[in-house]
């Protein structure tokens, strides 16, 4: 469920996980589209025809030894196009921290979402530890180059974001593994908060009214309503000398 907190980067998650789309047109009937190369044909374009309606989306359930992380860096926290987003889908050998299969998907590094299959190959069969971070970094830099004049600019920043997003996912998945696998060396306490994501707080406000003949600095009781916590807190506020 944790991946559903993001209402954005649908594409990126679809590319990183196994999914199947069922579409139907009045003239040609139903057909099933599978994930993989060729689904996206260009910027915001895919192989679904104009006269086809989406009937269903089938997404494989996450397995017991599978971890999925989707992350996004954008200028605004809500409703904004990502600068770079990444989704990481890792399946471990049963009961171990040895990588059985792994998919890296990135948005913002090309006109369409891209996978990094060479990077995946380089780490399959390896243990999930700090060594693979180095291997992934090396491979991602080679596999996802951006030319100096790539549309969107911020070339160095975007390239480094692919690494940062993976590292964030690495920290998160490492912490999950610690809970299930006994002989893992834990991530140090100084590093754990690197896996945290931002949660938008509901904005709150209050309006101050003077009651009666209010002298400066007389105390008034105001209710501050913290909607996101579903509780009401009383605060003592000096009355503003309006």
């Amino acid at each position: 469920m944790s991946i559903l907190q993001f209402s954005f980067n649908k594409h990126i998650r679809k590319v990183a996980i196994n999914f199947r789309l069922e579409v139907e047109s009045l003239d040609r009937g139903r057909r099933i589209l599978r994930k993989g190369k060729g689904f996206y044909t260009g910027y915001r374009k895919n192989i679904i025809e104009l006269d086809e309606v989406l009937i269903s989306i089938c997404i494989q359930k996450t397995g017991k030894y599978q971890y999925f992380e989707a992350l996004k860096q954008a200028k605004r926290r809500d409703d904004d196009i990502a600068i770079v987003n990444g989704a990481f889908n890792v399946i471990f050998e049963d009961g171990t921290d040895i990588i059985k299969d792994i998919h890296f998907a990135f948005g913002g590094m090309a006109p369409t979402t891209v996978l990094a299959p060479e990077t995946s190959k380089a780490v399959i069969g390896k243990k999930w530890n700090s060594e693979i971070v180095e291997i992934v970094n090396q491979n991602l830099l080679e596999e996802l180059p951006l030319s100096g004049g790539a549309p969107g600019g911020m070339i160095l920043y975007r390239r480094s974001l692919t690494l940062s997003l993976f590292f964030k996912a690495f920290l998160k998945i490492s912490q999950s593994l610690e809970a299930t696998i006994s002989d893992r060396e834990p991530i140090s306490n100084r590093e754990t908060s690197g896996a945290d994501v931002f949660h938008t707080l509901t904005p709150k406000s209050s309006q101050l009214f003077e009651v009666g003949s209010c002298k400066p600095l007389k105390m008034l009781y105001i209710n501050f309503i913290f909607r996101n916590h579903q509780k009401v807190k009383r605060a003592q506020i000096p009355c503003a000398n309006l």
Binding site: L171, S188, R190, E191, S193, G194, D196, F209, E210, L242
Partner: protein, 479 residues
Amino acid sequence: MRKPLTHSSAFKQATGEAVYCDDIPRFQNELYLGMVLSTKAHAKLISVDATEALQQPGVHAFFSKKDISDDANHIGAVFHDEELFVKDKVTCQGQLIGVVIAESQKTAQRAARLVKVVYEDLTPIIVTLEYAIEQKSFFPNYPQTIEYGDYKKAFADADHLIEGEFRIGGQEHFYLETNASVAIPKDNDELEIFCSSQHPTEIQKLAASVLEIPVNRVVARAKRLGGGFGGKESRGTLVALPVAFAAYKLGRPVRLMLDRDEDMMITGTRHPFYFKWKVSFTKIGEITGIDIEIYNNAGCTMDLSFSVLQRAMFHFQCCYRFPNVRVRGWVCRTNLPSNTAFRGFGGPQGMMAGENIIRQVAAAVGKDYMDIQRLNMFVEGDSTHYNHKLTDYNMMKCFDGVIKSSDFENRKLNVQQFNKENRWRKRGISLTNTMFGIGFTALHLNQSGALVHVYIDGSVLLNHGGVEMGQGLHVTSLK
């Protein structure tokens, strides 16, 4: 006066019933204006051909420099250094070359794109302040200088002397309501203009000037704005004047509300600034003198840039005592849309530079920046470098009060602790002072009048020159 009143505009705004400029219902014979904008930053205008545009169904007219006298074509906020329609030379992208008047927005915009403009490229194209300084692309009569005390002596006697530079970029105003205007010809020689302008008087004055009619024939009205932030103080003319011009020429109502991309392209931003400074101070970090150069990026015309620069020249000292000062300011001409007023009007940029200097001094003497703030803060009776004697000066009280009420010291310790304990996630906390002069530096602007009518049924009508743009002017007027 002190009784609480609900923000009187709030109900209409919250329910969506408030009528903004473009919400005014369409008039029966109304036309829409499409802009033909320059696509070059610096070029000679060779030819403008609207033949194809005029052949489109629904297109009524095309106006350009040919339809207006040279005198009437000159517009501007204070200095008339802009043209309603470009005559010979474009100096930024998004300058108005002509207007297409058509029956709908779509037709007008499509037809405007069919107008063929031929340019001949000119050099240089200046965008950045650095390049403007290198090319000496300054407006005439700059630098302006303010000298106070003897900075040279202070430098000679100083324990420490450090140099530095500081840059700050511009921002788009991004009001929710883009610039809009509807002009309605009245009688046969009058014009009523509804505009989303912070300065309807200027619209009235300049509309009369481009139409070559007396000001008393023009009424400019602004009921409310969906935000202005300075972006509609002088740049509102970019929309209102062509609309007024077309409406008057055709004798039919004409409307234009900019699309967001058009608005962002043509209306300018906050002024980017570049500061270069040299400051002297004692061993303990007490500032003794400063020599500072201030440059702002005005864009292609003056607009209000001279005044924005002046604010920065006044406010770079923030609330700190610089006993010996030389400050020099330059307004730089570049090939960008003319930059304009934006909340603070150069003050924030200046104060940022001043705070930066305080922090550099702190670093140089190895002290906490707040000690340096406290050490150099103005006290009662001090004088600023623009000869303003500070009386009833409560800055230190305010500073201490904020530190106490925000529990600053404890929070700072918590932040330091958090940062020590977390390698990848960091927090920060900072305290910055501001001191800002209220009012216009052109002193005659600091006045206003109002007219109150009391009708026989007891109701009251208040006329005033203010524009409600979210600041609660109506509720203040009611009080």
